[in-house]
Amino acid sequence: MEKDQDKILSDVTSGEYKYGFYSDIEMDRIPKGLSEEVIRVISAKKNEPDWLLEFRLKSYRHWLTKKMPSWANLKIPPIRYQDIIYYAAPKQRKALDSLDDIDPELKKTFDKLGIPLEEQKHLAGVAVDAVMDSVSVKTTFRETLAELGIIFCSFSEAVREYPELVKRYMGTVVPYTDNYFASLNSAVFSDGSFCYIPKGVRCPMELSTYFRINSANTGQFERTLLIADEEAYVSYLEGCTAPMRDENQLHAAIVEIVAEKNAEVKYSTVQNWYPGDKDGNGGVFNFVTKRGLCKGENSKISWTQIETGSAITWKYPSCILRGDNSTGEFYSVAVTNNYQQADTGTKMMHIGKNTKSTIVSKGISAGRSQNSYRGLVKVLKNASNARNYSQCDSLLMGDRCGAHTFPYLEVDNQTAVVEHEATTSRIGEDQIFYCNQRGISTEDAIGLIVNGYAREVLNKLPMEFAVEAQKLLQISLEGSVG
C-alpha cells in the first residue's frame, strides 16, 4: 500500500516544465566572460554616468576577493563565470513610441506567455513593465502614475532621469559588499525596475513586472529599487517564466526596498524559472538578495513569495526593522520537485523598539528534491519589546525527497517574545482516497490538498495573482497530468 501511494505520487509529481520555449529575436550582446573591460563596455552601452561605472568597478574588485558561499544546504555544481555573457539586449532601431513598434517576434512571445500588453493595460488596473532579458521594452500606465508623482520605470531610465534618487538609495539596503552574488550583481547588473512613491501617496494599482530570461548562456542580473516615502503605500508584484534550456543559467538579482516613516510596501513574487528536466539536467540557478529596510517609525514591509521554479534557489527576502514600531512579514510557499533544490527563508533584524515580525513558511517537497527553510530572527540590544512569530511547515510527497528546517535565533534583549512552531506532514493516501470517493481525481486531489496547505500564504497575494499561483502550484506538482 505504501508502494502504491508512492507510485501514484511519483506519477503525478514527475511532470515537466510547461513553459519551455524561447523566442528567436535579434540580440545585441557582448562576448562572454567578465573583466573590468566588460564592465566598462556594459556601462558604456547603457550611457551610464561615471559614478555608476565607479560603483560597478568597486563591486567587481570586491567580488574578486570573495568566495562563493557554501553554508547553504545545496549542492551547487561549479559555475564558470568566464563562460557567461553579461549583457544582452533586444536590438532596437529606435526608441519605441507605441506598441506597434515592438518586434513581432517579441510580441508573439508575450502572447505565448499570456501577457498581451494592450489587454493587460485594461485588466484589473495592473501596470506592466515587461523585461525581456535586460532592457525594458515597454512600460505602461506611466502617465497615470506620473500624475500622482509616482515613478515606475526601468532601472536604466531611472539612472538617466532621476540620478539623485538612485544615488541616494542604491546600495543602502544591500551594500555591494554584502555577499558574493550581491557583489557580482552590483558589478554587472543589466536592468530592472525602479519605483518611487512620493510622500503621502497610495499607489492606486498593483505594480507588476514580468521578468524573463530569453537568451542562451546569458546570465540575468536584475536590479530593483523600490522606495516608499513617508506615508506612502505600494503593492508590487513580480512574476516570471523562463524558456526551456539545457545549459544552466545563472540568475543573481538584487531587490532593495526602503520604507520611510509610516510607509508600507507589499512585495509579492511568483517565481517559475525553468527548474531543469525531470532527471535534473539544466535549470536556472537563482541566487537572489532581497532585502527591505523599515527605515522610519511605523513602517511595514511584507514579502510574499511563491517559489516553484529554478534548479537551485538561494534566497532570503529579509527585513531590517530599524524604525520604532516597524513591522516585517515573510510569507512563503516553496515547492521543489524532481531534482530541484531550495534553500530559502528570511532574516528579521529587530533594531528599533516595539518592532514586530511574522514568518510563515510552507515547504512542499516531491520527487527527489531537497527543500530547506533557513531563517534568522535577531533581536538587538536596544530593540525592547520586540515580537516575532515564526511558523515553518513542511509537506512531503513520496519518500525520496527531503525537508529541512534551520531556524536561528539571536536575542540580546530580555523583553523580546519570540515564538517558533514547526510541523512536518505527508500527503496521506487517506486524504487522496477521501477526495477520490467524492469524485475528485488523484491529480485534482493533490492540487486541492496542496492549495489548502498553502492557503495562509496564498491569501496574502493580490487576487489576480492568487489564482495564477494556485494553478502554478498544481502544475508544478502534477505536470504530466495537469
Binding site: 502504491d4 482516497f433 477521501y434 475528485i440 488523484t442 486541492l448 496547505y453
Partner: protein
C-alpha cells in the same frame, strides 16, 4: 442494482472476505451487522475502490457494469457514496471548495455545465437544513477540528449534496449521541427514494430503530452467515452475537 458474487478479498495477504454474495435492488435498505473484525468495513472498502484491499476472487456488478474495474472517482461519479467510519481531515480546504469541486466533477461526468457559485451556495444551504448541520461547519476546512458527531453529520451532508444511487454508511452511528443519531437517521430517511439504495453497516440495532431496513445480513469471519428481515436486528440486540458464532462453528464441525 448491485450484485456481489462470491467475493473474496485479502489485505496484506491475509484473507478477510471469504466469499460474499449479495444482491441489492433499487429502493432497498440493507443492514450489515456483525461483530468486530467480521469484514464489514473491508466489504465497504472494496465497493468504494480502496486499493489496499486485494480482490482475489468473485465479481461485483453495479448497474450492469463490472464495478471492480472502475477507478474510485468514477464509482463516485456513477453514484456510489461511502460514508466513512473515520472521516478524513483536509486542513486548509474549505467544505465549500471541496464539495464544489466534487459536485462539478459529477456534473461534468453527467454532461452538465458546472454550477455557478451562487447556485452551489444555494444547494449547500438547502442541504444544510435537511441534515440540520451548523451553517458554520460548511465554512470550515474539511473535517478539521470537527467533533466526532459533526464529522458524521458532515458525511450525511455530503451524501445529501451528491445524491448517490448507492450509499454505503460505514458505522455512521458509532460515537453519536441520541440527538445526533436521530438527525443522521432523519437525513437518510429524507434522502430515500424508490430508485436509490443503502447499505447501512452497524454494530447495534439502535440505528435501525430509525432507519428501517428491508433486509438484515449478519457477517462473521468474512462471510454472510445469516440473512433475514428487520426482526433479525432485534434478535441480535437481545441475544448478542455469541449464538451466531456458535451456530457457525457448529455448522463447520458438522
Amino acid at each position: 442494482m448491485l450484485v456481489i458474487d462470491n467475493l473474496k478479498a485479502a489485505i496484506d495477504g491475509k484473507n478477510i472476505l471469504k466469499g460474499i454474495s449479495l444482491e441489492i435492488k433499487p429502493g432497498e435498505v440493507h443492514a450489515l451487522m456483525g461483530p468486530n473484525g467480521s469484514g464489514k468495513s473491508t466489504l465497504a472498502a472494496v465497493l468504494a475502490g480502496r486499493e489496499f484491499v486485494e480482490v482475489t476472487e468473485g465479481s461485483v456488478t453495479y448497474k450492469g457494469r463490472d464495478l471492480l474495474s472502475m477507478a474510485a472517482e468514477d464509482r463516485s461519479k456513477e453514484g456510489i457514496f461511502l460514508g466513512f467510519q473515520y472521516p478524513i481531515e483536509i486542513p486548509g480546504v474549505s467544505m465549500v471548495n471541496f464539495m464544489k469541486t466534487a459536485v462539478n466533477e459529477h456534473r461534468k461526468h453527467d454532461g452538465l455545465e458546472p454550477l455557478s457559485a451562487s447556485d452551489f451556495l444555494k444547494l449547500m444551504r438547502d442541504k444544510k437544513e435537511l441534515v440540520e448541520i451548523d451553517s458554520k461547519l460548511a465554512n470550515r476546512s474539511v473535517n478539521e477540528g470537527f467533533s466526532g458527531g459533526e464529522k458524521k453529520k458532515n458525511e450525511i451532508f455530503q451524501m445529501a449534496i451528491l445524491e448517490p444511487t448507492l450509499a454505503i454508511l460505514d458505522e455512521t452511528d458509532s460515537g453519536l449521541d441520541i440527538d445526533a443519531l436521530r438527525i443522521v437517521a432523519n437525513g437518510v430517511n429524507k434522502l430515500k427514494k424508490p430508485d436509490n439504495s443503502f447499505i447501512v453497516i452497524t454494530h447495534y440495532q439502535r440505528l435501525l430503530e430509525y432507519i428501517i431496513p428491508d433486509v438484515v445480513h449478519v457477517m462473521y469471519d468474512g462471510r454472510i452467515v445469516k440473512t433475514a428481515g428487520k426482526e433479525l436486528a432485534l434478535e441480535l440486540e437481545e441475544k448478542g452475537y455469541d449464538w451466531i458464532k456458535k451456530e457457525v462453528e457448529n455448522s463447520i464441525v458438522a
